[in-house]
């Protein structure tokens, strides 16, 4: 098993910039004073054809795969080598997208030569979520069906939308004015955080900004974008009294920027930065660590999954998150609880404060009915209907 740790996201080095608004989409830039040395990202265009990632011999993983990124770590870490132009575009060197409709990736992340790491960003995160309890029950209690024991939680399909399907998002991204030194973006729809994205270098960001529209976004994002009316801007306000000179006016204007950043970090992004996450390390490469993280699956709150590259001090070099819908959170919560109690139904039910039958029915309504043996499930149903009904 890979090591797991818990902790919060650390966005040290990323400063919040002024937001830009388009309809219901609010985009908040993250700025770096200094790019992260020694790490650059490259885009590897795979073309629009179906990408298939083989996790193991039994399961294949189907999903829309617009991009695969290559994390490049420059060997010596000197600034010249780091943002030298020789690293700028790796995609051109790769083979052009052929007419082959399917493309097999051997693993979701694998070493590709020395000092380079290829990974498929959103897939890592989705796989991390889906395979949370991928193996199925670890203890074969008698209630679990043979299929669950043998095949795990298959089929592992989750719903996500590409950004192009989210109304207004393409326009908002196209019209966004990228700040100098910008290395990231927080995307709000209807003022709820939909996704966070950060890269080590401003040029990487500039290259990746147009690809954001092809990324995957959760179900909630789609709903908010479709249903929310245009939002009001958080407009700057300067109190007139007390300003007697241009210098005073300038200081007041500067204060506006700081106040916005403080408000944003403490209030708007609280759902992302506040709670603790369970990190699982995927790969270490020099000073950098690539890990996936899972939220605490707290219901009726923001829950983000994602992937992150941190340096040795734990600061974020690369970050990409995906917001789970409420339904996905509920399912994650159930599975989390089951796993915490070794997949024992009665003990889990006790921990959740309900009866075993109720838990069984909850599993069924969450879409996990096939995991339970049919006769056990029927028994639960009879119990739920009441003692008189036979």
């Amino acid at each position: 098993m890979t090591p797991r740790t818990t902790g919060t996201l650390d966005l040290t080095g990323l400063r919040t910039g002024p937001a830009q608004l388009w309809g219901a989409v609010r985009l908040v830039p993250l700025l770096r004073e200094e790019p992260v040395a020694g790490l650059r990202l490259h885009r590897r265009a795979l073309g629009e054809e179906h990408g298939v990632v083989q996790v193991d011999r039994r399961t294949t993983y189907h999903s829309y795969l617009p991009h695969a990124f290559v994390a490049d770590r420059t060997g010596d870490g000197t600034p010249v080598a780091t943002y030298g132009t020789h690293l700028t575009d790796d995609a051109a060197a790769g083979p052009p997208p052929a007419g082959m409709p399917l493309r097999l990736h051997h693993r979701l992340a694998k070493r590709e030569g020395r000092g380079r790491l290829r990974f498929l960003p959103q897939h890592l995160a989705l796989e991390g979520y889906l395979s949370l309890h991928f193996g199925g029950p670890s203890v074969v209690w008698e209630e679990w069906s043979q299929r669950a024991v043998r095949q795990g939680l298959s089929p592992r399909a989750e719903e996500a939308w590409t950004g192009a399907q989210v109304r207004g998002l393409a326009d908002a991204l196209r019209l966004f004015e990228i700040h100098p030194g910008q290395c990231g973006l927080l995307l709000y729809l209807g003022d709820t955080l939909a996704a966070a994205f950060a890269v080590p270098h401003p040029e990487d960001y500039r290259a990746l900004h147009p690809t954001l529209v092809q990324d995957l976004y959760g179900e909630q994002v789609h709903h908010y974008a479709t249903l929310m009316p245009p939002l009001p801007d958080f407009r700057a306000r300067i109190a007139g009294p007390g300003i007697r000179s241009v210098a005073g006016l300038r200081a007041a204007a500067r204060r506006q920027e700081e106040e916005w950043a403080a408000f944003h970090d403490s209030t708007m992004a609280a759902g992302l930065l506040g709670p603790a996450y369970a990190f699982r390390t995927v790969r270490r490469l020099g000073p950098f660590t690539l890990s996936r993280f899972l939220p605490g699956f707290r219901r009726r709150e923001e829950n983000h999954i994602g992937e992150i590259i941190t340096d040795e001090a734990g600061r974020t070099a690369y970050l990409k998150t995906f917001r789970l819908s409420e339904k996905q959170v509920r399912r994650g919560h159930l599975l989390d609880q089951l796993a915490a109690h070794d997949w024992h139904l009665a003990r889990t039910a006790a921990a959740l404060g309900t009866g075993e039958a109720q838990l069984g029915l909850r599993l069924e309504s969450a879409g996990f009915g096939a995991l339970l043996r049919q006769d056990v499930l029927d028994h639960y149903r009879r119990q739920a209907r009441g003692p008189g009904a036979r």
Binding site: G17, Q20, H179, D233, S245, Q256
Partner: protein
């Protein structure tokens, strides 16, 4: 009763100013933040609204520096609803239309005729106005060759006899004659089979024949260069150079300021660095010409110029907002005694500007006010986003707290029409905003902007429009008027 009337007057003044701003900036083309369809819909509504409610003011707008697209729309609107006008209105309108048509580029007028035909507008007045316009064309043979379809359609629509039997044959029965006496018409006939003849034709006509004869682009451009108009030379200079046609040479010193700014911004940065002295000198000369008698008379001027990413414009109006800003920069340099330019990106080299980054207008305005200018001009599309709304707050506090007497005159010039608001986007209610098309009009726009503060009533505005109308209809001696932009387009 009196208050009701004056309230109505205020609304009318507001509506007309809004329309003037729209008529200067909007072209029905795609903008950075709205599609062509939205722009057209919004503009069409505005035209029918103003025409329906304030017919006289609508016609008087023809006397202002509105763009050609809107001038044509206004003419079409007036001609299509001729029945609704009184006799006095018709007389003024007729003169305004005739004068405006004379200033419009001919291709615009031919397009207008096509639109009139499509809308089935063919009243006596329309025919008379078009007859006078056609009669005043300097060279009917050139029109017949260069705007063949347009002229044919115009003659058909107005039931006029072609000027001369030969021209009539040329347009309607070209096969009937084996040779034309007019050299240009004969060149056109010979160009169908003789390559050398096509170089006697205007560039846009010869281009089609060159394709028919399979002449390579480089050779064609090289030989046709003397037949190009000024703007064709400017437009094709760079592509000609790529094709090895060095003969295509635009005389930059003769170009109008805004066109020249657009040309400079179309050059790659390396070229701009290499030709820095030449380009700067050409821009300065054009600015001096545009400034005319006002040169150096504006005192201490500061300008906040928007070179944020949104100054890219759109595929149809490429870099238009940035072009306007760059042209304003050089014009203000000529107008001011002491000049401080402040680009939003913080760059200082105006020749190398490039649309990039956010729009921190608020802080740049503070920087500008720090220099204690007599005039502050802001050239921006009005999307102040870093942080949003700061510019409005800075301007408000400045006006209410730091400069209540209005020692500094602040004007916002906006080159982009906002389709949703039916106006150019404003920065602050205390600061007048005017639409901007060509930087050359800047002095008149600043004069117009004082009406946009919202406190001026209809009588003042009507008086101003009357004065402009008079000046427009009876132009004083050409020495005092700045040379109007158009265009010796037909000179060749």
């Amino acid at each position: 009763m009196a208050t009701e009337e004056s309230f109505g007057d205020l609304v009318a003044a507001d509506d007309v100013l809004l329309f003037v701003n729209a008529a200067i900036t909007a072209t029905g083309q795609r903008e950075f933040r709205s599609e062509a369809g939205e722009q057209r819909l919004s503009l069409d509504f505005l035209h029918s609204y103003i025409l329906g409610n304030y017919r006289e003011l609508y016609a008087a707008v023809l006397a202002l520096d509105v763009n050609d697209h809107n001038a044509a729309l206004i003419v079409q609107g007036l001609l299509a609803t001729a029945g609704e006008a009184t006799a006095a209105q018709r007389r003024t309108e007729g003169r305004l239309i005739a004068r405006r048509l004379a200033l419009l580029p001919p291709q615009r007028v031919y397009r207008l005729i096509r639109e009139l035909r499509r809308a089935k507008v063919n009243n006596r007045r329309t025919r008379a106005i078009l007859r006078d316009w056609l009669a005043a064309r300097p060279d009917p043979a050139l029109d017949a060759v260069k705007y063949r379809a347009g002229l044919k359609l115009a003659l058909r629509h107005t039931h006029l006899a072609p000027p001369g039997a030969e021209l009539g044959d040329f347009l309607f029965r070209p096969a009937r004659r084996s040779a034309f006496a007019t050299p240009l018409l004969d060149s056109w006939r010979r160009a169908h089979y003789q390559q050398s003849a096509l170089y006697e034709l205007p560039y846009s006509v010869a281009e089609g024949f060159a394709a028919k004869h399979g002449i390579t682009r480089g050779t064609f451009l090289e030989k046709i260069a003397p037949r190009m108009t000024r703007q064709e030379q400017l437009r094709l200079q760079e592509s000609g150079r790529r094709h090895g046609a060095e003969a295509v040479r635009a005389d930059l010193a003769r170009m109008p300021l805004t066109r020249l700014a657009g040309y400079v911004l179309g050059l790659p940065t390396d070229d701009r660095v290499r030709r820095r002295a030449e380009l700067t000198e050409a821009l300065r000369a054009a600015a001096r010409r545009a400034a005319g008698p006002h040169r150096g008379s504006w005192g201490r001027v500061a300008a906040v110029l928007d070179d944020s990413f949104s100054a890219t414009g759109s595929g149809q109006k490429r870099r238009r907002p940035l072009t306007a800003a760059l042209a304003c920069h050089f014009l203000l340099e000529a107008l001011a005694a002491e000049y401080t330019p402040l680009w939003t990106s913080g760059r200082t080299d105006a020749l190398l500007v490039h649309p990039l980054g956010p729009t921190p207008l608020g802080l740049r305005i503070v920087d500008a006010l720090d220099t204690a200018p007599e005039r502050l001009l802001i050239v921006s599309d009005g999307w102040d986003n870093a942080p949003p709304g700061l510019a409005a707050e800075v301007l408000r506090v400045w006006r209410t707290r730091l400069d209540p007497d209005g020692r500094t005159s602040i004007v916002h010039l906006n080159p982009v029409y906002d389709a949703e608001d039916f106006d150019v986007r404003r920065l602050a209610p205390t600061v007048p905003t005017a639409g901007l098309r060509d930087a050359e009009d800047l002095p008149t726009l600043v004069g117009l902007a004082r009406f946009a503060e919202g406190r001026t009533g209809l009588p003042e505005l009507t008086a101003y429009l009357d004065e402009r109308t008079r000046a427009f209809l009876d132009p004083p001696a050409p020495a005092t008027t700045p040379v109007p932009e158009p265009l010796p387009e037909d000179a060749r």
